[in-house]
Symmetry: C2
Subunit: 349 residues, 2 copies
Amino acid sequence: MTAGATQPAVRATLEDVARAAGVSLATVDRVVNRREGVRAKTVARVEAAVAKLGYRADVAAARLARGQSFRFAFVLPSGSNSFMTNLTEQVQRTADWLAGQRGFIDILHVDVFDPDVLASALENLSPAYQGVAVIALDHPRVRAAIDELAARGVAVVTLVSDAPSSRRLHYVGIDNPAAGRTASTLIGRFLAGREATVAVIAGSLSLRDHTERQFGFHQILSSEYPNLRALPVIEGRDDSERTRELTAALLARHADLRGIYCCGAGNRGIADALEASGRAREVVWITHELTQYTRRFLVRGTLDAIINQDPGHEARSAARVLLAHCSGEPISPDQERIRIDIFLRDNLP
Amino acid sequence: MTAGATQPAVRATLEDVARAAGVSLATVDRVVNRREGVRAKTVARVEAAVAKLGYRADVAAARLARGQSFRFAFVLPSGSNSFMTNLTEQVQRTADWLAGQRGFIDILHVDVFDPDVLASALENLSPAYQGVAVIALDHPRVRAAIDELAARGVAVVTLVSDAPSSRRLHYVGIDNPAAGRTASTLIGRFLAGREATVAVIAGSLSLRDHTERQFGFHQILSSEYPNLRALPVIEGRDDSERTRELTAALLARHADLRGIYCCGAGNRGIADALEASGRAREVVWITHELTQYTRRFLVRGTLDAIINQDPGHEARSAARVLLAHCSGEPISPDQERIRIDIFLRDNLP
DNA sequence: CAGAATTTGTGTTGCGCACCTCAAAAATCA
DNA sequence: TGATTTTTGAGGTGCGCAACACAAATTCTG
């Protein structure tokens, strides 16, 4: 048995460092908090002592002494599909957790799909907030509102849907073109060289994430799977009934339809149409977001794979990024990277 | 715009609760920390005040006042493949993080594949540790060692590899049979009904996780894909060279070999053999764990999918579970559930 | 070398809580 | 009713650190 670097049984305090460096507490404080007025030589002495003792500030004590607290706003959609409901619940849980860390989250519900409404919600946000997480829209007014918040010193993170050219601090969400490519590869591989027609159903092509997904999807489909022919993208407006009708029409018109990629919501409509047509098993259907419904469709075999982003991870990540930024701490990029999950029937959580 | 429940600007303190309940600080303290000697009526009054003010103990202040610190041992394998190297690095990072929370992690390197060595390492562990995370072996002596630790009041979590019938507190790792089923579905779907032979390569069938994976794999293969014929499991001992030879022999002997599932290590050997045979593109190869090598094979197209467990998540989860247990806090199960990641070329992180 | 500027030391306060002691008040019992 | 037990209050201490004021020591300037 080999022991790794064994740590001291109890942590070193600022006083230990002061003693070891032969300086006073105040000087150590000046050094560790990077204040002015300490000679380079003394700084070096203190830093040597810090390194030697392995001193690390006790974050609990530091936060307590600083007495700082944080207030964040999460701007979420008011009209809600299953995914957004999940997300809201996860944000609520994150808020409970953060309340123990002197952080407060207010959840504001807004019609985030109307750029003007969203923008004015952001513009009229109470100045009490040090940070904002928002399901953004890639629209000039929204971008301007985000930039203005940033200019006021408010940390803004975009959640799930990005506003790439804005001055937001960070984007918490998946790489949507990559998600589309993933869907394409799954359909291409599952169809394994067979000649067929493939349909793409989006909620709306004015939503940046849907557009990016279908872009990635078509990119791979056309370059890697010449045997597959993609139909023009259909917009189901994330509405189940409308999506059902569109899907039924597609199935009726195209006897060789073997693949459906849905890059938005409205999955219940697709499931209904597929099951009614009796072709559920021969059509490879891939969609986004694990919900109680998509889970059921996947288990039943109507749905072949789910591409998912974990709302719990996203909520926590947004909170961590805001908190870290406001307390001047670094973030660890690979913990905050939101993965593109693929769920088959067998690896459902 | 609708506002959710807006929280008070600044948290309520114990004193606020005392004032609101019309009792003294000491009594509030007795109630919130569940000490003896308070009348039921008073308890109710205090709890009502707590609820009304939304009081939540400031974890920073509480930890500071309690002055408690924790010491955990992580028992990791000394001989190391890429996955274990990654895991060790992630544990190291977790240790850095935990050091700010009055938690200390010592990493002990042990030959975890020898039950006797592992068991005696656990038996001889310093009593200074309140918690242990261990890559377990499902073996009577190891189980006994874990049970003894648990009996001594040490919290034990198994990491990556479980010892199911032991008295460990928690298992941090994936559901291995489900991972095997996932691999089976991927190979079955990618081969899409074609008649073919499929090989399974394990490190060793005495490793519980490898056995469970191949069990799940065969379960689905035989029930769902009658067109696929599985060869007897081969043991590559997680050694690249040996695995290369075995794979080359398989390829030479079976002209209709179209699928390989590797549920252990030795992937470099498989890649070499596949590429040397010129059949890399026609054979569907699925393996475990994202490493620098498997990533390269996947991008190149030799490998078709990676089934992964996130070592960073596992390291942090183990630490969180130990910390929560030792401070009597609850854990949130779905944050601690380790997912079975599927990586294709397109959704690599 | 005096005087000014810079650097360092001493000391204090308070963050919110846990934990302790001792006394006072209230409830219970005989 | 008085004696006993139970419950409550008041108050203090310290955890490790940040933040500040002010004095002392050191260095630099003319």
